[in-house]
Subunit: 377 residues, 2 copies
C-alpha cells in the first residue's frame, strides 16, 4: 500500500501537469521513477488486465485500484530499454496512454528506458544529431531497387571530409528499420560520437532479406502479413550481392573506401551474413562483429565452403578486430562455442565477449555500444 | 448472414495463406476486398468490442461470431486512406492483427487504403522511389538545432541536376513527421513523379512548432506527453525564422534557388504560416497553397499587419499560383470565406478549390495530390 500511496501522489502531480499542458486530464503511463516503472491503465469495464513484460517470464496480473484503473509497479530494474504489451480481457494492446511504440517483427510494443550505465546511450540527448536517410539502391542481381537506412554523423553536411563506414546487419524477421528503430542505433551513435567515445562514422543498415525490397509496408506488396522466416535467406544470395551495397555507398556518400575504414557487424542471421561476407571478401573489412551469430550454414554452396582457409586469408589481410559476443542464455550459445573451437584450432585471432541474457535486443544494443568505440582507431 | 458466409470463405483462404507463409495460424485484419473492409478480432473473453472508425460518426458495436471472434464489415467505402481503433471493454487498442499504424498527434491508429481515383496515389507502387531524410538544421533564432524531413526524388543521387523545392507545412499538433507518415506525402510524390503527372522536386517538411526541436520522442525531452496546442505558435516566430530553413536547404541540396522554382503549402496552422510567409517574403515563392488554412492572426505583430499591401506586392512579384482549398464541412470554412472576400476586394488572383468533408487528413492528401502537379510548369 505504501508504494501505491507514493505512486498516487506522483501520478496526481503528473495528472496536474498533463491537464495543464494539454487541457485534457489523462494518465501518465508508463511512469519511470529512477529504476522503477509504474504502469496504469483506465479500464473500468475490463475483467482482467495482464501485463506481458519483457522483464518478466510470464504475464503479470495488473491490480485493480480505485476509479476503474489497473496498476502495476515493477521491482528495481537494471538499466536498459524495456518493452511491454497489455492483454485486456485477452486482447493484446499497447499502453493506451503512450504513443511511443516499437515494432519487433510483426508486433507493436510500448517501451521505456531505465537510465544508467550503457542505457544512458539509448536516450536522445541534447547533442548534435546525425541525419538518417532511407534510400534505394539498384540491385542488378535482384533486378530491383532495394531500400537501406543510412546514418551520417553530425557535421557530415557542413564539412568536406570523408568518413569510415560501419555496415550493420539485422536478424531473421528484421529489416532495414530494425537497427535504427528497435536497436536505437542512431541514438547510440549520436551519443557515442558526441562524447568522443566513438569516431564520427557513417552507418549503413541494409535489408538482409533478398525476398524483400523494403520493410513491410514500404514496398509494393502493401500491408502484408509479416513473416518471421522468409525464403532466400541462408543461400548466399545476400552475401554475394553485398558488393552492390558497398559500391552504392562509396559512390553516393563521402566515404573512406578502404578496408581499414570499413567495419561490418550483424546480429543473429546478420552475424551469419557478417561471418561469410568478411571471410569471402577478405580485402573489404578490417573490423568484424558477430552479435549472437547464427553461424552454421543451412546449405552447401561455395560461399559457405572452405571457411578455415578463407579465414586464414582474412587474418593475413588488413583485419584488425574480429569480435564475437553472445549471452550465456542464448539458444545459439553452443553454436558459438563450436565457432570458437574452430577459430582456436586455426589460431584465428578474435575477441570474445560473453554477457548475461539471451537472444534479445537489449544484448544487441549493449554489443553495439561496446563495439563501435573500438572501430577505426 | 450471407455477408458473413462470404467473409468466412475469404477469411479461411486468408488463414491458409497466413499459415503457409508464417507457420502460425493468425487472423488477417483488416481485410480489404474492393471497397469493403472487414475487421475481425480474436477476443473470446471480451464483453464488448467497439470500432472507432473515421468513416463513421459514432463507435460501432462489433458482432460476436463463432470461435470467440468479433466481426465487422463495412458498407462500400469511397477511395481513401482510413484509420480506426478498437475499444475492448473500454480500452483503446489498435488492431492486434496489424502492425501497420500511424500516429495522429498523441494517438495511434490502424489504417488501410481503399484504392481507386486519388487514393491510388497513396499505395506504394513498384516505381522508382525517392529518398527520405531526417536532418537537423541550426536555428540561430532559436539557439538550437531543429529537425526536418526532406524528400529527394528518385534519380537525385545518380544525376547532377538541380531541382525545384516544395516546402510543406503541418498543422497544430503535428510535426516534421506528419506529412511523410500520416499524409503519405513521400508515397504520393513517388507516384505523381513516376507517372509524369508531377515534375521531380525536393519536398521539405519542417517542424512548425518553435517550442519543439523535433517530433515527440526524437528530442532530448524524452517520451513526453504530446500536446495538441503548444506555446510559441501564431506569434510569427516560425515565419520570421523561415529563411534559416530555406538557406539550409539551398546550401545542402541541389536546389534551383529562385522563386520560380519554389513552392510553399501548408494545412491548417501550416496554411496560416504559408499565408504570412509568402506575403512577408514576396520574392521567395511563385507557388502558394493554403490547405484548410487557419488564417486569422492571434496576435497583433508586424508580420501579421498590412497584409493587403503585402499581398499586392506579392502578386506583382513572381507569383504564379495562389491556391486555396477547403472542405464544405470544415469548421474554418467561414474564415476562408472572409479571406476570399478580402482577396476579391483587392483583386488578388487565386484559385479556389472547395471539396466535401471537413478538417481531416483525407482532404489534405487529396489537396496535395492536386496541388503538386500544378507546380513549376
Amino acid at each position: 500500500m505504501k508504494r501505491i500511496s507514493i505512486w498516487l501522489l506522483g501520478c496526481l502531480l503528473s495528472l496536474v501537469v498533463v491537464a495543464q499542458e494539454s487541457g485534457v486530464v489523462g494518465l501518465k503511463s508508463p511512469c519511470v521513477n529512477g529504476n522503477v516503472v509504474e504502469i496504469v491503465i483506465d479500464a473500468p469495464d475490463a475483467h482482467e488486465v495482464l501485463l506481458q513484460a519483457d522483464w518478466a517470464t510470464s504475464p503479470i496480473a495488473m491490480q485493480p485500484i480505485d476509479g476503474g484503473r489497473w496498476y502495476y509497479s515493477s521491482e528495481a530494474l537494471l538499466p536498459g530499454m524495456y518493452t511491454y504489451t497489455l492483454l485486456v480481457d485477452g486482447v493484446v494492446a499497447t499502453d493506451p496512454s503512450s504513443p511511443y511504440i516499437v515494432r519487433n517483427i510483426d508486433r507493436l510494443y510500448s517501451y521505456f528506458i531505465i537510465t544508467g550505465s550503457h542505457a544512458d546511450n539509448y536516450v536522445v540527448c541534447d547533442v548534435p544529431h546525425g541525419s538518417v536517410t532511407t534510400a534505394w539502391y539498384r540491385s542488378e542481381q535482384s533486378g530491383c531497387h532495394r531500400r537501406l537506412t543510412i546514418y551520417t554523423p553530425a557535421g557530415y553536411e557542413t564539412t568536406d571530409r570523408s568518413y569510415p563506414v560501419l555496415y550493420l546487419l539485422h536478424g531473421m524477421g528484421g529489416d532495414e528499420t530494425s537497427w535504427s528503430e528497435l536497436g536505437r542505433a542512431t541514438v547510440i551513435l549520436d551519443n557515442l560520437i558526441a562524447s568522443g567515445r566513438a569516431l564520427p562514422m557513417i552507418v549503413v543498415m541494409p535489408n538482409g532479406n533478398m525476398a524483400q525490397q523494403a520493410a513491410p509496408g514500404s514496398s509494393s506488396r502493401g500491408l502484408e502479413a509479416i513473416n518471421f522466416r522468409l525464403p532466400r535467406t541462408y543461400n548466399a544470395e545476400f552475401e554475394s550481392a553485398f558488393g552492390e551495397i558497398v559500391n552504392y555507398v562509396d559512390r553516393h556518400y563521402r566515404t573512406l573506401p578502404q578496408a581499414s575504414h570499413r567495419a561490418i557487424a550483424g546480429l543473429s542471421m546478420g552475424g551469419y551474413h557478417t561471418h561469410y561476407i568478411s571471410a569471402n571478401y577478405p580485402q573489404w573489412f578490417s573490423y568484424v562483429g558477430l552479435f549472437s551469430p547464427a553461424i552454421n550454414p543451412r546449405s552447401d554452396i561455395d560461399m559457405y565452403r572452405n571457411i578455415d582457409a578463407k579465414l586464414d586469408i582474412l587474418r593475413h589481410s588488413s583485419l584488425r578486430l574480429y569480435w564475437i559476443a553472445i549471452g550465456q542464455d542464448d539458444f545459439l550459445y553452443n553454436e558459438v562455442v563450436e565457432l570458437r573451437n574452430r577459430l582456436n584450432a586455426i589460431n584465428f585471432p578474435y575477441v570474445y565477449r560473453e554477457s548475461s541474457g539471451g537472444h534479445v535486443w537489449e544484448n544487441w544494443r549493449i554489443y553495439l555500444t561496446e563495439f563501435v568505440p573500438m572501430l577505426f582507431r
